[in-house]
């Protein structure tokens, strides 16, 4: 079932989306955007659409199937964008039988609308009192009105102000807005349509039906067993969370430090997962926290301040890196304050940290000055000229301050793995349809973690094949509603993929092979590339900024040396 909401007329319609048969998650969001949005559309204009879709396995209770996808043309990159998020909503939308909500056009009125979906249907409510509120306050007001059991996705002032790094914050299972559809500025698209929040109430619903329930359960068991067996998903992530990567990457010389000028951070241990874990325990916070229903990895956390008050949650590796090593800050409390501010104002932490690094290189503040960084993020919340610059992201900030070393691809900040020391992920950054995005083809697996084989991270050999295969597989996984972290198990334990295939087949009565599902992944990439080509973004944009090819990265003193012509073979299918 699909809902369409026209923000100009506030009309809501419902259809079965026959043209989108067989698609879910990213496959669905990218197909809708590429079929319905003019690639030349202004991302904040009437022609862009914002879509919220569920995955193939949403609402099934499958392990780690709590994710959903948002899609639109991105104001940050100008490309098509799928932004994937955990939390409570994906499962509820799935249970409600909703495959997609498509938000169209622009409102006549400058106000705040809430889209509320329940078993009774979708209604648009005007709540001007939400205008100008940050995310935590917005959630509190909505929970007052609708109860604490609803799932909420909403924007803060960054989204209202149409800043290109604005995210959409989603509530977790405890109702805290700790999960973000972070990348690509989809919060600004939501803001352009004056949609302040979307709410899902699944009261009275049941689990989705299955074509073959027994076969589904068998598949579930295979995936669950694999997740509970693989050392990354059964031990590393539950114990230390994603932030365990700080020390690993710093040791590997691939932790971008002070705006990508070193691959090793002397303060790594202060901000890594081991310290985070110890601090969380000491203060009565939590690690091993599940962000969405059905999660059996539980890599999230709740972080309290020195007084024992909850400060933030979902403090991930990417944020500890971007708001830490990348700006030379080694104080976890400063990072937690920044993370909370970003989640509250509603900006992507990766983009914000990288932006601060670029701003520091441009002389706006000093590397290592966490207090100054906190004040800069507050400027974003106040939407001062400086705050608007920073809220516009790293590329805009670099251009504004005439900075040469700006780590972006297609306008999106490069995440937490330096492509000179983790070359497989460098291939992904350079070529993915999304702008720099580690999750689009997470070659860190074979490069650093010895998952799915080993490919020397410092050498060019094998990286293109590695990235290509991961980009295809990821495009499929992103279509299921499964958390990307199931990939760790999939890459090493054959039964994991079997289980996923069996679940998808059993859910819908299909008889597809793993090859068929990988073909779905390829088709996602083809759809996305076709859209991007229409937007003027093609192979000529598939490269890293010049300095990665010219400036050796300590401590290994390597450059990114995968020839452009090899990058151009990533999409050879």
């Amino acid at each position: 079932m699909f809902y369409r909401v026209n923000m100009a007329t506030l009309a809501v319609s419902k259809d079965d989306g026959a043209q989108y048969q067989g698609l879910g998650g990213r496959a669905l969001s990218s197909r809708i955007v590429s079929a319905e949005v003019d690639p030349q559309a202004h991302p904040l204009g009437a022609s862009n659409k914002l879509v919220f879709v569920t995955g193939l396995l949403s609402g099934t209770g499958a392990p780690n199937a709590g994710r959903m996808s948002l899609g639109a043309k991105s104001p940050l990159t100008g490309t098509i964008k799928e932004s994937n998020v955990g939390g409570a909503m994906g499962n509820k939308l799935g249970r409600l039988g909703i495959r997609g909500i498509i938000v169209e056009d622009l409102p006549a009125k400058d106000t705040a609308y809430v889209l509320k979906v329940s078993a009774a249907g979708l209604v648009v409510e005007e709540m001007p009192e939400l205008k100008g509120l940050d995310i935590y306050d917005t959630v509190a007001k909505l929970q007052q009105k609708y109860g604490e059991k609803v799932a909420i996705g909403c924007i803060g002032t960054a989204g209202e102000n149409k800043m290109a790094s604005a995210c959409v914050g989603f509530t977790d299972m405890e109702g805290a807005p700790t999960r973000q559809a972070g990348r690509g500025g989809l919060g600004a698209v939501m803001g352009s349509k004056s949609v302040k929040a979307i709410i899902a109430d699944d009261a009275g619903t049941q689990m989705v039906p299955f074509a073959d329930e027994a076969a589904f359960r068998a598949g579930t068991k295979k995936l669950a067993n694999a997740l509970l067996t693989h050392p990354v998903t059964s031990q590393g992530l539950p114990t230390y969370g994603t932030d365990v990567l700080v020390n690993i990457l710093s040791e590997a010389g691939g932790l971008p430090t002070r705006n990508f000028s070193s691959g090793r951070f002397e303060g790594a241990n202060n901000i890594g997962g081991e310290t985070l874990n110890a601090t969380a325990k000491e203060r009565g916070g939590k690690t091993g926290h599940a962000c969405s229903p059905g999660c059996i990895i539980r890599c999230s956390n709740i972080y309290k301040d020195k007084k024992g008050e909850v400060l933030t949650g979902g403090l991930e590796y990417e944020s500890c890196w971007s708001l830490g090593a990348d700006i030379g800050v080694d104080n976890l409390d400063d990072i937690a304050v920044m993370n909370r501010l970003c989640d509250d104002i509603g900006v992507d932490t990766i983009e914000m940290g990288v932006t601060l690094g670029v701003a520091m290189e441009g002389g706006v503040a000093s590397f290592g000055d966490g207090k100054a960084a906190i004040e800069l993020i507050k400027e974003v919340g106040k939407a001062t000229p400086l705050g608007r610059i920073l809220g516009g992201g790293a590329e805009l900030t670099g251009k504004t301050y005439g900075v040469r070393r700006v780590p972006t691809v297609k306008g999106q900040a490069i995440p937490a793995y330096d492509p000179r020391a983790v070359k497989g992920v460098g291939v992904t950054y350079a070529t993915t349809t999304m702008g720099a995005d580690h999750t689009a083809g997470y070659s860190v697996t074979a490069n650093i973690l010895s998952v799915g084989g080993k490919v020397d991270p410092l050498k060019p050999e094998g990286q293109v094949d590695l990235s290509r295969n991961l980009q295809i597989a990821t495009a499929f996984l992103d279509s299921t509603g499964l958390c990307l972290f199931v990939a760790f198990a999939v890459l090493d334990i054959p039964e994991a993929l079997d289980g996923i295939v069996e679940m998808c087949n059993a859910r819908f009565g299909w008889n597809k092979t793993a090859g068929d599902y990988l073909e779905m992944g390829k088709q996602v990439l083809r759809d996305e590339r076709a859209f991007n080509a229409g937007a003027g973004i093609g192979a000529g944009d598939d490269d890293l900024p010049e300095f990665f090819r010219k400036e050796p990265l300590p401590p290994h003193n390597t450059v990114f040396d995968i020839p452009k012509k090899d990058l151009d073979t990533v999409f050879n299918f």
Copy 2:
């Protein structure tokens, strides 16, 4: 003779540039940039080069042959850029036998360098006392040191601050810096290399030699006769200057008003050439002023304030429009103050006016508030965060403020002819290698001025052919050092082109046909497009912003309706 200056080592070398045989002006600058600059280079980085070149006819004394070209990869557009400028320098460089000065690499030191070229050679001088000075003060200091006869090109604080709309200001024949290599932010490239100024002293030089002086004189006579016969070049431009176009375009419904929301400005007459002319006369200023040696059109002016003090010069149509109609200002004195500020800080007036229009649409100030606009430009000079946003140009400002209606192509502001009502120039904006640039294929000729035939400006028919032919011819004219305004005569009087062909041939002992020279124009465009393709900018970027296709423009209520597939045939050669 070519000079190469390496800013890292401060070494100067000299060669005959055999590889660039037979090229001048834009053909030369674009060939050098496309041959020597990596299209993936950061525009402000060591790999970009800034080139100053003379045209085929520079230093010959040919009529209106005083222009020169600057080239580089543009920080504004990311494309190749040729920025063409009048004033005193082109002729002096020509007389000095200089075909090109190629500035390479980045300096080790943050200081201000001056490149001084004379019959004795090129020397690099360090003048830290120039750092932080605006253009008028820089010129005054340099004239104190080097005398008033030298020609000067220099940057202001905008260039030093590497703002993407920074221009390079050049002195006119009276030594006032009223001429700008305005578009594409080449002032920021100059700033990145810490080159504050370039100075040409042609003392002791003679006119360049000719292969056949008699034939050259004959050619000269043909062109001069044509220029003195054609009504535009012999009457319209000398009497009223370029600003005569304000009323013409407003009448035609193609004068972009208040950020391109109307094609007619109720205050047009207050800011048009007729008023400018009367005011200049009344206050003892000047119209019919020649900006460069050998100019027989004399379309420039000197504008005084109410007290009779010189306020600004070279107050052109584009500036009166951008700092006037486009921001709803109908006060010529306010416009003159803004023009002076832009010339002094060193930012392109077209980009700045369009930027102010976008900022006004974003709520930064009100349309029509000239005093507020003046203060905003002062922010650019102070390089406050707001000033840096505005100095970054219209696209950056639009992105920063989440504005949907941003009139740019490939990141460069659209000039003074609305493409919905002057569709031929719309084709040029959409397709030229330079980002939106009216001078790249000035279809206003046949669309509005009935020069070179008539093509209905409101209809799609014939515009692609018109723009293509003009883009080719212009690429050649820009290679000669001739002012583009000779094109008015060329389009209507066959002897004008004959004269140009004869002069070029007689200068070098060539035996080329007009067809050969047009082939040179085609090759310029091929070189430029190859560079752009390497930079990831191709046919997918050859279009106008969405709103020109969707939002009808009063008073004709037309949209830009030339199909994208037709735009893609512009470069079918």
